[in-house]
């Protein structure tokens, strides 16, 4: 029966080409616009570490002694140096790592290249297994390297391509400012979206969070080694008094270090919360803290708190769906016109014994066919849309590609939308009283 309806639908579509083209176009444009924005949304709102993110937590304590915020006081997005090192060295979590970003000058002695400005992540050995960072050559440094402030580094695939032409560069030397470091590992191309582990300050960003979707750092260096190598070049997240020497933050009244912990069970999470609270109480008793608020948000909770999806992207998605709504109304109107015009034909079919349901099914088949053709057009338009997004100067531009899931959703959405649009007109058509129509014929 479906084959017959399909044949009828094709004939009907051919009969009034202009109307068909109008309907297909409306659906294609609506689907194209909404799939483009939905794909970008999907890419930017996804879980950067599926399966692991529920066990990763971002720890915060409140070292700032100045009164602000009132009842809605939130601890700073980063930790001061002392709290960060205290909490990290307690090793109360399954894994824990410190995070500090900075810029420095780098040269590779053997490569004939001018000096580059690179971003360096000061972190600890747990960073790599915690965040499932993939290695191309070599591996992470050891806990001993962390403790001994070893001059070692892990570099990104990009930097390895740039400096060493993509060869295995493990064991080679890189000059970071005035220090030589030995490369112990080279990463595979790694592009978490967002670059979740450095996300902070989203609530002050007024929705302009595109910067969270940049590329990971070029060089990863043991925490204390990095602090020595790039002395005086660190940026605070915030300070409650001016640092004595700008850029030297170890003893400054500033928040600038991030702490991530991995906790593999709910019991451990609860225990770690207790540990954080105890630490804050103890520091207050020592007179170092005035406030004892702490936070331990999991990865997705932390991204939510920072409203990591750029506001413009959300706005575009809303707009696109409003637009799809307009296209839907448009299609309902046109389908109604089309079906009611064929009232005579339906009258004959009904008089010859077709049930209402059969007429309804026939009409829906036609609507679905229009949806499918519109879906093909919408798919092409969303490819065009994503190409336009890739040409935008946003940090996430290179991520904008249609994956298999979204490809499928395009067609499902197109067919669902058109069947939805078709159901009302189809209902009307199936209610055509046969006798009246036959009289008119």
């Amino acid at each position: 029966m479906f084959g017959y309806y399909l044949d009828l639908a094709l004939r009907s579509l051919k009969r009034n080409r202009v109307l068909t083209v109008l309907m297909v176009l409306a659906i294609a444009v609506g689907i194209g616009a909404s799939m483009t924005t939905l794909t970008v949304m999907h890419l930017l709102s996804g879980d950067p570490l599926p399966g692991r993110s529920a066990h990763l937590f971002y720890a915060q304590v409140d070292a700032d002694p100045t009164p602000h915020g009132g009842d809605h006081r939130e601890p700073s997005d980063k930790l001061d140096y002392r709290s960060a090192v205290d909490l990290w060295s307690a090793h109360r979590a399954d894994r824990q790592t410190l995070i500090v970003d900075s810029q420095l000058k780098a040269t590779a002695p053997k490569a004939n290249m001018p000096a580059l400005m690179l971003t360096m992540l000061a972190t600890t050995t747990d960073f790599f297994p915690m965040f499932a960072v993939p290695f191309q050559y070599g591996g992470a440094w050891t806990a001993q390297d962390d403790a001994q402030r070893a001059r070692v580094a892990v570099i990104s695939a990009d930097l390895n391509d740039k400096l060493f032409g993509g060869e295995n560069s493990v064991g080679r030397t890189l000059r970071l400012r005035d220090s030589d470091v030995r490369i112990v590992g080279v990463l595979k191309p790694w592009r978490p979206a967002p670059q979740f582990y450095t996300v902070a300050g989203g609530r002050f960003a007024n929705g302009d969070t595109a910067g969270y979707f940049g590329k990971p750092e070029d060089v990863f260096v043991p925490f204390q080694s990095a602090l020595e190598i790039n002395q005086g070049a660190f940026q605070q997240f915030n300070c409650w008094a001016a640092p004595a020497t700008p850029g030297h933050l170890e003893n400054a009244p500033c928040n600038w270090v991030g702490l991530w912990v991995e906790l593999d069970s709910a019991a451990k999470t609860a225990a770690y919360r207790g540990f954080l609270d105890n630490y804050a109480q103890q520091q207050k008793a020592l007179g170092r803290f005035n406030y004892t608020g702490t936070r331990l948000r999991d990865l997705m909770g932390w991204l939510d708190f920072n409203r990591a999806i750029p506001r413009d992207v959300k706005l575009q998605t809303w707009l696109a769906f409003a637009f799809l709504g307009i296209c839907l109304f448009n299609t309902v109107g046109l389908l109604l016109a089309k079906f009611l015009r064929r009232a005579g034909e339906f009258g004959v079919r009904r008089a010859l014994g077709a049930s209402r349901r059969a007429v309804f099914a026939q009409c829906l088949t036609e609507a679905a066919l229009i949806g499918f053709i519109g879906g093909v057009g919408g798919w092409l338009l969303s490819l065009l849309g994503l190409w336009l997004v890739r040409r935008q100067p946003t940090p996430y531009a290179d991520l904008a590609h249609l994956d298999g899931g979204m490809f499928l959703i395009t067609f499902v959405l197109a067919v669902v939308v058109s069947v939805l649009a078709g159901s009302l007109p189809a209902l009307r058509a199936s209610r055509v009283p046969p006798a009246l129509q036959l009289k008119i014929l």
Partner: protein
């Protein structure tokens, strides 16, 4: 033209009428809000920087040893100054549309009780206000003695500063700012001059900071102020000068790395700063065009259908004396009524949408005058869309009435 028969006819097609009206309502709501967003983005892009943008360029160096800051500053100022066409080179912390480099919370008292927001500070070496082209409206420019050497931190303990007119008015509404003082932590500022305009480095129209909340602090360059330079040249030569400067820096400062992203002319930095706004504006224009297009197509489709359906009635009307104009006007009136109904709904919807946008995107209130503008646009669109089918209807010959079906 009588409206009643049109209304009676529309009642027979309630569903189709309702659909088109809903489509127009939704279009009206999106149209008003999208145009409003475009207008607010465009007005944000008109930001006045208060400096001679077309004559200025900015250079940012990185990777040098802070200990060699004095030497680097001296080499760069002398080296870039020697490039033909360069009128001035000054050490400055940043420029409008340049990197964010100096947001400080300020208070009116030393105790830090009377907080007055977070302006941006410009720190510059002698001659910087003149090189920027700041326009003084009261007081005086900093003299040689005002440029102090910074011993600790970023700022001198006491400095004589310039503020913008807007920021002076924000700190001391209705009063004369000259000679007044304000604080950031333990550092005191005393106002010696008021400038017409000087915009912040990275303006965000939704932040709490005003676009002109800036303070110019005269300082001597040193370790706390190095590696960032203002270059002034004739507007016609600026592009060439900046290219030459970037090449020359390889020789002048081989120990530093030029930040090519940030080192550019101010017009180029401005263009880049507003790139996202421009992209969003472009997208909104695209949405509006396709929106109006789809709506028009819907009207054309439905009107054509109705014309075909009513061929016989039109023939009868023509046969009993209606002119072509009568038929034309009938369809135009019908369209006008449907669109008006849609617009009425759409205005309500526009406000609902605006309320949602205000809640989630901190957008301001939709000004009322957008509604009649949106209404006129949709009326015109409706009339244009229906014109084709209506003309076709007007051409139906009276003889049709005599034929069956």
């Amino acid at each position: 033209m009588q409206i009643k028969p049109v209304l009676v006819a529309l009642k027979k097609h309630r569903l189709a009428t309702l659909l088109i009206a809903l489509e127009i309502a939704l279009a009206c709501a999106v149209l008003c809000n999208a145009v409003f967003m475009i207008a607010s983005r465009l007005s944000a892009m008109q930001l006045v920087s208060g400096v001679d943008e077309s004559s200025l360029g900015f250079i940012q160096l990185g990777g040098f040893d802070p200990k060699s800051a004095h030497d680097l500053n001296a080499r760069v100022v002398a080296g870039l100054g020697a490039i033909p066409g360069v009128q001035a080179v000054r050490v400055i912390n940043s420029v409008p549309f340049g990197p964010a480099a100096g947001a400080f919370g300020v208070t009116l008292d030393q105790a830090g009780k009377q907080f007055r927001g977070v302006p941006e500070l410009y720190l510059g070496a002698p001659g910087t206000p003149e090189a920027l082209g700041l326009k003084l409206v009261a007081g005086r420019m900093p003299g040689a003695e005002d440029y102090q050497t910074v011993l600790e931190g970023y700022l001198p303990a006491n400095s004589n500063v310039l503020v913008t007119r807007v920021f002076a008015e924000h700190l001391w509404p209705g009063e004369d700012a000259l000679g007044k003082t304000f604080w950031t932590g333990r550092n005191q500022f005393r106002v010696i001059g008021v400038v017409a305009q000087l915009s912040v480095q990275q303006y965000d129209e939704e932040g709490e900071r005003g676009a002109q909340w800036t303070v110019f602090v005269p300082v001597q360059p040193g370790p706390q102020l190095a590696g960032t330079y203002l270059v002034r040249a004739d507007p016609r030569e600026l592009d060439r000068v900046m290219v030459d400067a970037r090449t020359a820096l390889a020789k002048i400062a081989p120990d530093a790395v030029v930040d090519h992203q940030q080192s550019d002319t101010l017009p180029a930095l401005r263009t880049r700063f507003f790139q996202a706004d421009r992209a969003l504006t472009g997208m909104l224009v695209g949405v509006i065009v396709s929106l109006l297009g789809v709506t028009a197509l819907g009207i054309v489709g439905l009107a054509s259908f109705w014309v075909a359906q009513r061929r016989k009635q039109i023939g009868i009307r023509r046969a009993i004396g209606a002119t072509r104009g009568d038929i034309l006007r009938y369809f135009q009136t019908e369209n006008f009524l449907i669109v008006t109904f849609g617009i009425a709904l759409g205005m309500l919807l526009a406000f609902v949408l605006n309320a949602l946008l205000m809640k989630f995107y901190e957008l301001p209130h939709l000004p009322l005058y957008y509604l009649p503008l949106g209404a006129i646009a949709l009326w015109v669109l409706g009339q244009l869309a229906v014109l084709g089918p209506a003309l076709r209807a007007a051409r139906v010959p009276p003889v049709v009435a005599t034929r069956t079906a």
